[in-house]
């Protein structure tokens, strides 16, 4: 039984001290769960603010340093434009992180809405690779990919983007400096996406934890980890697909996503 859920009474279990103690323990666990989640949300929102504020501070200092004499106006504008471009990228990344938190909340409440339409998964994967490429390059992780063309299915674009980016981000985070392998192929029924990182790898127990619902203890004092994988797992499940991870400590992890190309039409998708 999940922590924090009130237990039902049974005829054989008369109300008494033991029963009340159990109820109290459940409520305390629920409060710990809430506090841990709030802490992790705070961390997720606070952490990326540092480079955003830093860029603003840099631009302000630059503007204050311009004395109008001997400065090339065109060069000044180029510096400002470059800074604003970096700021734009950082804020877009921040919004994505906020979206992830919202997805987490909607999934937990069973209120995810999908817009199913023909989508080319190969294009979604290529776009995600393009977005992660600069960070992968700086981390020293080469990207090796073999993608089939025109892998079209009826899916939700945003859900696909969230899934692909969460998995890529995970293998980059845990395998920084090591190559990242991405393959995509399909038959008439399903598309199969495999994302391989040659990083530290994780144990079977850790695999299960990462794909489990992030209740209080699920974060285990590491609020920066796990949300993306949880959301990816649930979104793939909602699209009637499955996601597995094959991992060996010290050798890396391979995430495999299998998605049916013709997701059956149901008015409101039940999130598993």
């Amino acid at each position: 039984m999940p922590e924090g859920r009130l237990q039902e009474t049974s005829e054989s279990e008369a109300p008494g001290t033991l029963f009340l103690d159990r109820q109290l323990a459940g409520l305390r666990a629920a409060l710990r769960a809430r506090d841990a989640l709030i802490a992790s949300v705070g961390y997720e929102l606070r952490n990326p603010m540092t480079p955003i504020l830093g860029e603003i501070e840099r631009l302000r200092l630059f503007a204050e340093s311009v004395d109008g004499e001997g400065d090339d106006p065109q060069a000044r504008l180029l510096v400002l434009a470059a800074g604003l471009g970096r700021l734009e990228g950082l804020i877009e990344a921040y919004v994505k992180r906020a979206d992830l938190l919202l997805d987490f909340s909607r999934i937990s409440a069973g209120r995810v809405r999908f817009h199913r339409r023909p989508i080319d998964l190969a294009r979604v994967v290529r776009a995600a690779l393009g977005r992660i490429e600069p960070a992968a390059g700086r981390a020293g992780s080469a990207i090796e990919c073999a993608l089939a063309e025109d892998v079209v299915g009826r899916w939700d674009r945003r859900a696909l983007e969230q899934v692909v980016e969460s998995l890529l981000s995970n293998v980059l985070k845990f395998g920084a400096g090591q190559p990242i392998g991405v393959t995509l192929h399909a038959d008439a029924q399903v598309a199969v996406l495999a994302i391989r990182g040659r990083g530290t790898g994780i144990s079977r127990g850790e695999e299960a934890r990462r794909f489990a619902r992030l209740e209080a203890g699920g974060l285990h004092g590491r609020p920066d980890l796990g949300l993306g994988l949880f959301v990816a797992h649930r979104l793939v499940g909602a699209m009637r697909g499955r996601i597995t991870v094959d991992s060996t400590p010290g050798a890396g992890s391979t995430f495999v996503v299998v998605l049916p190309r013709n997701w059956p039409r149901i008015r409101r998708e039940a999130v598993p």
Binding site: G42, Y43, P48, P51, E57, R58, L90, K173, F174, T200
Partner: protein, 121 residues
């Protein structure tokens, strides 16, 4: 030239610190986790390390413990940066020269760096 090692899994942050500190004349090397940082330490022998608390693979406290075991890195001053308050996370570190809670002001970081290692050149 003074060398600063920046260790953080937020790529946007390491790149911004690289730009800011390089503009001031420091040589900056970066690492996305503690394990890569250990490699960088051996390659670059930094004068200062700016270290995030929570990172995958090897986190900040584990990195600092490993640094303190090595005579050649024991005296490298460490500036901890974290979204977690010092009261909650500081105790997990063997020791550090300064602790900045994210988001911090760049001016504050630059003042701390300059106090600990002096001017860049």
């Amino acid at each position: 030239m003074k060398t600063i090692l920046v260790v953080d899994d937020e790529d946007g942050l390491t790149e911004m610190l690289r730009a800011v500190l390089s503009d001031l004349g420091y040589r900056v090397v970066t690492a996305p986790n503690g394990l890569r940082a250990l490699e960088r330490l051996g390659e670059t022998h930094p004068d200062l390390a700016i270290v995030d608390y929570m990172m995958p693979v090897l986190d900040g406290p584990a990195l600092v413990r490993r640094m303190h075991r090595e005579p050649e890195f024991r005296d490298v001053p460490v500036v901890v940066i974290s979204a977690v308050a010092e009261g909650a996370a500081g105790g997990r570190f063997d020791g550090y020269a300064a602790y900045l809670q994210k988001p911090f002001r760049l001016a504050h970081l630059v003042a701390v760096v300059s106090r600990l290692v002096g001017a860049a050149a």
